[in-house]
């Protein structure tokens, strides 16, 4: 996405990043921060900036304290690589975002808030990042949080940068809390309609078995919808839990089965792959109350039919998060998106557009209507980045 006049810089350390930003103060050089590039299309497009500051060379593991279950890393550290390093101590950063295999970085995951199915148990970087080093547009280096998991000293700037998509400054280093790698994992799979999946998710979460993920893959063509429930823990624990789940889902009238580990991995990879867009398609992300899952899907299906757009997707059923891929003529995609957003918003939810073709982008805002806190967002932005240099256009329509 780099334009000809954009200078790409790859600082080696925080001081270098700070210097680069400070040097741009006089010229008010606009800047875009980049990591693994897996989510550069999230939010509004940031084009024509003077500087692209890449974290590609900020990829060191600064420290790992296995006994304290914390680690500090430079922001450009790819998650996949970090997991390999942590695995030696039997630990992991409890995140499984779909972009992990395509190079998502730790800093990018904090900036975007992206996470995978297991956020049901472990949360997102909002819950896992306990500190950060941030560089503001004027080069000020700020430390927030610390190496301990429990800390209420000062404002939690790490959380402020969660979801900021590079619009407030550069995330240069991140301190994360770690979890023990589960010894075993099991997955129970069952065919289920949207309504059945919603009921099942509620029952599973209320059952006392503590699942790490409950995902529902929506039906496509002749393929019915599928519910996947994942357990992580000890070998004996997940075996017992999976038996319990099979019974529970069977009581509901579903036909569940426990899946062997290898098959399960394949199933989960399909879930991940299903969220990627093909060329020309759009990826929408909606958030609602979990119980709104059936109505969200019902309206999507009928809108897709009406506008002759092909739609597929999946929901984190216990969380009320829905990822949808639309394929079809750009104007039809835009029409479905606009109408669906309206309906989801009426239910109290939100819809953001992630990947989309330029023709779709022209017809709608990626983020939709700004929230009631927009006034605060604008003043926070103007206090941290008074010249508006960081990622101009990222929150197009908001600030």
């Amino acid at each position: 996405m780099s334009d000809d006049r954009t200078v790409v810089a790859l600082p080696d350390d925080v001081a270098a990043a700070s210097k680069l930003l400070r040097e741009g103060v006089a010229e008010r050089t606009t800047v875009r921060f980049s990591g693994g590039g897996t989510k550069s299309c999230w939010g509004g497009a940031v084009n024509g900036v003077g500087l692209e500051l890449s974290t590609a060379r900020l990829r060191q593991l600064i420290g790992h304290q296995p006994g304290d279950m914390t680690a500090s890393v430079e922001a450009g550290m790819p998650l996949a690589h970090l997991q390999t390093l942590l695995a030696e101590a039997g630990q992991w950063l409890a995140l499984d975002p779909p972009t992990e295999s395509s190079g998502a970085t730790v800093g990018g995951l904090l900036a975007s808030g992206d996470a995978g199915p297991r956020r049901l148990r472990y949360g997102t970087m909002r819950d896992l990042a306990i500190g950060a080093t941030i560089v503001l547009a004027d080069g000020t280096v700020v430390h927030s949080g610390s190496h301990v998991i429990k800390n209420v000293a000062g404002y939690d700037l790490t959380k402020l940068f969660h979801g900021s998509l590079g619009s407030l400054g550069l995330i240069a280093e991140v301190i994360v809390r770690l979890h023990p790698r589960p010894a075993a994992s099991s997955t129970v799979v069952a065919e289920a309609t949207a309504t059945e999946a919603t009921t099942a998710a509620e029952r599973v979460v209320s059952s006392g078995v503590e699942p790490t993920a409950v995902e529902w893959v929506g039906p496509t063509g002749t393929e019915p919808g599928t519910l996947l429930v994942r357990l992580d823990g000890s070998r004996r624990g997940v075996a017992a839990g999976s038996d319990r789940l099979v019974n529970l889902l069977a009581e509901q009238g579903l036909s569940p089965e426990g899946v062997e580990a290898d098959d399960a991995d394949e199933q989960w990879q399909r879930v991940t792959a299903g969220q990627r867009a093909e060329a020309g398609s759009s990826v929408l992300r909606a958030g609602t109350l979990p119980t709104h899952l059936p109505s969200v899907w019902e309206s999507l299906t009928s809108l897709s039919e009406r506008h002759e757009v092909h739609s597929r997707g999946m929901s984190s059923a216990a969380l009320g998060l829905h990822t949808v891929v639309l394929t079809g003529p750009p104007s039809a995609q835009a029409a479905v998106t606009t109408a669906w957003r309206e309906q989801v918003t009426r239910l109290g939810g939100t819809v953001a557009v992630r990947e989309r073709a330029a023709a779709v982008d022209a017809e709608l805002d990626a983020l939709g209507e700004p929230p009631s806190s927009i006034g605060l967002l604008r003043t926070v932005k103007s206090h941290l980045d008074p010249d508006g240099r960081c990622a101009p256009g990222r929150f197009r329509g908001w600030y």
Partner: protein, 497 residues
């Protein structure tokens, strides 16, 4: 900041009495507290070392009323401080001299309960324990469990990002708040978060939680509820020394177990808890660990067995496993009464709230013991061992010459030790008035300046709980300690009537 506070004070002194009628028209006469005797009762929170009498106390009942009075405060540039149950231990609800206290104790309505989606919306004056009580029949509960949970309010929990014994596994208030209604310091009402867990844009809610009432007044909170764990297993293990107990904690963590809670009490703390509640702790042991596992029954049993084994191997002299829920509840009641019960052990004490990386537990505790011996004072330890959050209680008698100064010095020394060990000056009590000066030791001027920029974005006139969190030269020219006059009092700007 210092100038801000002084200005706010001077303005308030002139303006507040004249506004009494206007506030009364917004809240009704019963909503405005103005008699000197009554105002005295609001002069401090759970930290009695700092006391300032406010000019007025307002007791609104709705978001609209809070917005209306804040709008007046903003118009007059009048300083205000929000207050819940007044149980805070860092002076976060310390009034501003001649400013307004906005008490939220009448805002205790449960707005809505959504069992299928496991969430509840409440007003800020609802107590932490009440949330769980409301949904008990539905097998749900609110995970953060500060020791003062029977009295502290959810508004205060949000302001302080409260933790508690069980946040090791379940996280803090911040991890359990889904949405907030916030009256900003200019009197407008905004909502943060909401129905969806996917929030776009900078996470303002994440900053507001734990901002100690300096960014606005939260008037509604939507919390996430968890299903009550299927199984709960608890043990109380006695150890011959604090260090062996510390090793057991490290052993449990190293085994890859995430207990629901791991609490440690030393001999003095045990004695106080036992006197207050008769919870059945052994009085002849040097240290005791409360270890609790919860969750899916099979997993819980496995982990519990493992933890039991680790305690034995680490040298536990006896291990008690409560048989009934009532017995377990009594153990927790004993633990949670620890601070307050310390009044039985010593006429005066400081509570500290430092955090250290948990691998350094044994080392730091040994050092604390040595420091206490050196100072000739007793230090009781009761703390969340699982996450390294220490609560050393420095016991002293203010009537004995020189003792409070020694205690002050020791308390400060302990917190600095925590920072040197790579930890934090506060794990859950907040910075408030008490630790504002220590902020300079933990954060660089740049770090603080950027936090200040965030504050300015929310509260450009610095009228919303001024004088908290951020160190001020006036305040920090002195040593932290027990009661001493507010700097403004010392400067002759204010006086107590």
């Amino acid at each position: 900041m210092a100038t801000d506070l002084t200005e706010a004070t001077e303005r308030s002194e002139l303006v507040a009495p004249g506004l009494r009628a206007e506030f009364a028209s917004l809240l009704g006469r019963g909503g405005v507290v103005s008699e000197p005797a009554q105002l005295r009762t609001y002069e401090c929170d759970g930290l009695t070392g700092y006391r300032v009498t406010p000019a007025l106390v307002l007791l609104p009942e709705t978001t609209e009323q809070v917005a209306a009075v804040v709008t007046v405060c903003a118009r007059e540039r009048l300083a205000f401080v929000a207050r819940g149950a007044g149980t805070g231990l860092s002076g976060g609800a310390l009034p501003v001299a001649d400013g307004i206290v906005i008490g939220l104790s009448r805002m205790r309505t449960v707005v809505s309960v959504d069992v299928p989606n496991r969430r509840m919306t409440i007003q800020p004056g609802v107590t932490n324990a009440q949330i769980s009580a409301v949904v008990e029949p539905d097998c749900l509960y609110f995970a953060p469990d500060p020791s003062s949970q029977i009295v502290c309010t959810v508004g205060g929990n949000v302001a302080e990002n409260s933790g508690g014994a069980h946040c090791l596994k379940y996280g803090f208030t911040s991890n359990h708040v889904l949405g907030l209604t916030l009256v900003t310091p200019d009197g407008s009402v905004v909502t943060l978060g909401g129905d969806t867990t996917d929030v776009f844009g900078p996470d303002l809610m994440g900053v507001v939680v734990g901002s100690e009432g300096t960014l606005g007044i939260v008037t509604e909170v939507t919390v996430r509820l968890l299903r009550r764990p299927q199984s709960v297993r608890t043990l109380v293990a006695d150890f011959p020394s604090v260090e062996t107990a510390g090793n057991a904690v490290s052993g449990i963590v190293a085994a890859g177990i995430i207990p629901a809670a791991v609490e440690m009490l030393d001999h003095l703390a045990i004695e106080a808890c036992e006197k207050a509640t008769g919870a059945g702790f052994s009085l002849d042991t040097a240290a005791a660990l409360i270890v609790e596992m919860d969750g899916f029954d099979t997993e819980c049993e496995i982990d519990f067995g493992e933890a039991h084994r680790i305690c034995e191997e680490s040298g536990a002299t006896s291990i008690r496993v409560p048989e009934t829920a009532a017995e377990r509840a009594l153990i927790w009641k004993g633990r949670k009464a620890a601070f307050a019960a310390m009044g039985r052990m010593s006429p005066d004490y400081f509570v500290q709230d430092g955090v250290i990386p948990r691998t350094r537990l044994g080392e730091v505790l040994t050092r604390v013991e040595a420091m206490a011996d050196e100072a000739g004072l007793r230090v009781a330890n009761v703390f969340h061992a699982g996450d390294g959050n220490l609560h050393p209680l420095v016991l002293y008698d203010a009537d004995k010459a020189g003792e409070s100064e020694r205690a002050e010095k020791l308390a400060t020394g302990i917190v600095e030790l925590c920072m040197e060990a790579g930890g934090s000056i506060s794990g859950e009590h907040g910075i408030g008035t008490d630790k504002a000066c220590s902020m300079m030791k933990m954060f660089s001027p740049d770090d603080l300046a950027v936090m200040k920029r965030v504050r300015d974005a929310f509260d450009p006139d610095a009228i919303c709980n001024p004088g908290k969190i951020f160190p001020t030269p006036r305040l920090c020219g002195e040593l932290p300690g027990p009661y001493r006059p507010h700097p403004l009092e010392a400067a002759g700007v204010i006086s107590r009537g």
